[in-house]
């Protein structure tokens, strides 16, 4: 089987400082990988390098494109990469306002991404938007409201609808539940888990919350000071951590 994403020796430096370095992995279709580590460990830098928001100083990020098979997205032209991020890729930001257009209605936010890939029929777009608001548990009578009138959890669900409406194959998520109440987090996680299964999505999720990866991720990558210190099956890494730092991370979680 061809990997959906093949990452080889990615490195990003901020001057003398290491952002992340020596990162390589293969992600296969339908797999969800979690990247965990403390603030400043390089996990967001890595995610941004993978998603094309940052240009890595070294390495390649090959994606299995529909037309030409594996292609290095780092050396790809800007328009090609932008096309990928509108179609087969999706990016869920920690702060919904970074992923939404705050002065456009909820329906418009979902419809806009469809229009970006060529949808023109108003009725169809409205219908798809209505369907997706329902799937992310936003009442349809809020379709014409702007996200500014939504709660944090609703904004995050709207961002997810906007991202998934085009049926992407790979979703990047940066702390998708960060800053939300615990009960709101649980609902969002449950929703994400259902969607990942149902759509057979591949995803890379950056988080510092081990409960999030326990629920969502098949496998884990643990980062510390820009380096990957441990990888493996999620339950194995969490239940039998090998590296000093992973042991510290796992033992630091309070049990409730």
């Amino acid at each position: 089987m061809t990997p959906l994403l093949q990452v080889t020796d990615i490195a990003k430096f901020y001057g003398q400082r290491i952002g992340c370095t020596g990162v390589s992995f293969d992600l296969y279709p339908g797999e969800v990988m979690g990247i965990v580590g403390e603030s400043g460990s390089g996990k967001s830098t890595l995610l941004n390098c993978l998603a094309g928001h940052l240009t890595p100083d070294r390495g390649s990020v090959c994606f299995d494109t529909r037309a030409d098979g594996l292609r290095d997205t780092v050396s790809m032209s800007e328009p090609e990469r932008r096309m990928l991020s509108r179609t087969d890729w999706a990016f869920v930001h920690q702060h919904a306002r970074d992923g939404l257009r705050m002065n456009v209605s909820a329906g418009g936010n979902v419809g806009e991404r469809l229009m970006a890939v060529g949808a023109r029929h108003y009725g169809d777009i409205r219908e798809a938007a209505t369907d997706w608001l329902g799937r992310v548990e936003i009442s349809v009578d809020r379709i014409d409201d702007r996200p500014t009138a939504f709660s944090g959890g609703m904004q995050q669900r709207l961002q997810i609808a906007r991202n998934l409406v085009t049926g992407p194959r790979l979703v990047f998520m940066d702390e998708p539940t960060g800053g939300l109440d615990v009960s709101v987090q649980a609902r969002l996680l449950d929703l994400l888990r259902g969607l990942v299964r149902e759509m057979n999505l591949s995803a890379i999720i950056v988080t510092h919350d081990l409960a999030v990866v326990r629920l969502l991720a098949d496998r884990l990558m643990v980062m510390k000071d820009g380096h990957v210190v441990e990888t493996g099956l999620t339950d194995q890494v969490l239940d039998d951590p090998q590296h000093r730092y992973t042991q510290l991370l796992v033992s630091s979680v309070l049990q409730v």
């Binding site: 996680l189 449950d190 888990r193 493996g232 099956l233 339950d235 590296h243 042991q247």
Partner: protein, 227 residues
């Protein structure tokens, strides 16, 4: 079906003075299709550790754990996930599920993961829940708030939903009443009859005697320094 060869395991606690705790050494045994083998030994001998290594939940330090075509001790996460989906079931002592997911969905999930049609999977889940006497009014609720015995029966229904060729059972009859205990023992016997290779931990001596073909004393694999 299951072939364990010279498996060893120790835990290194880096943040507690790098204490190294050897827990298993030279574990070797085989389980054939249609056979049920019980792991026995005093508490702390390493029964659960061995079980967790078979499932890939704990990392084996050395040796081979061949389950079907896969060596769990050296396989990539993707291969272990595939093995767990199609070949290796596990009934743990505790139910670990996502809040908000209904009981019937919890039970049907392993079937859906292997590509079963949704209505067929739900129908099979309902048959199992009925057989294990889980009241129908509970099916649409999340099992997180159920009693210990109810949770365990949901766990068993989930573990037996798909016909795995290899099955790991950790205290499957621990908190069950006599009726349900008998149902579970029947289910284990039926799994053996269809050719499943089973490894179990049973503190219930009578249950063990009834379904297990032989015992493996894990104490034999306990490193001398610990014993």
């Amino acid at each position: 079906m299951i072939n364990v060869e010279n498996v060893s395991k120790s835990f290194t606690l880096h943040n507690q003075g790098a204490a190294r705790i050897p827990v298993m050494h030279g574990a070797s045994f085989q389980v054939a299709p249609g056979e049920c083998v019980a792991l026995v030994g005093v508490s702390g001998a390493g029964k659960s550790t061995l079980m967790r290594m078979l499932y890939g939940n704990y990392l084996a330090q050395s040796g081979r754990i061949q389950i079907g075509e896969v060596d769990v001790a050296s396989a990539a996460p993707r291969e272990i996930l595939q093995l767990r989906r199609y070949s290796l079931g596990y009934v743990s002592q505790f139910l670990r599920v996502v809040p908000r997911v209904s009981t019937v969905d919890v039970v049907a999930e392993p079937l859906l993961a292997t590509g079963w049609d949704r209505s067929d999977a739900l129908a099979r889940a309902e048959i199992l829940l009925t057989r294990l006497n889980v009241p129908e009014r509970l099916w649409s609720l999340s099992p997180t708030t159920f009693s210990g015995g109810e949770q365990q029966r949901v766990n068993i229904a989930r573990g037996f939903a798909y016909d795995y060729p290899a099955l790991l059972l950790d205290e499957p009859t621990a908190s069950l009443d006599a009726t349900n205990r008998a149902v579970v023992l029947e289910m284990i016997a039926a799994a053996k009859a269809r050719g499943a290779a089973i490894v179990g931990i049973f503190h219930d001596d009578a249950a063990r005697a009834q379904v297990c073909d032989r015992e493996i004393d894990v104490t034999a694999f306990t490193p001398k320094a610990v014993a």
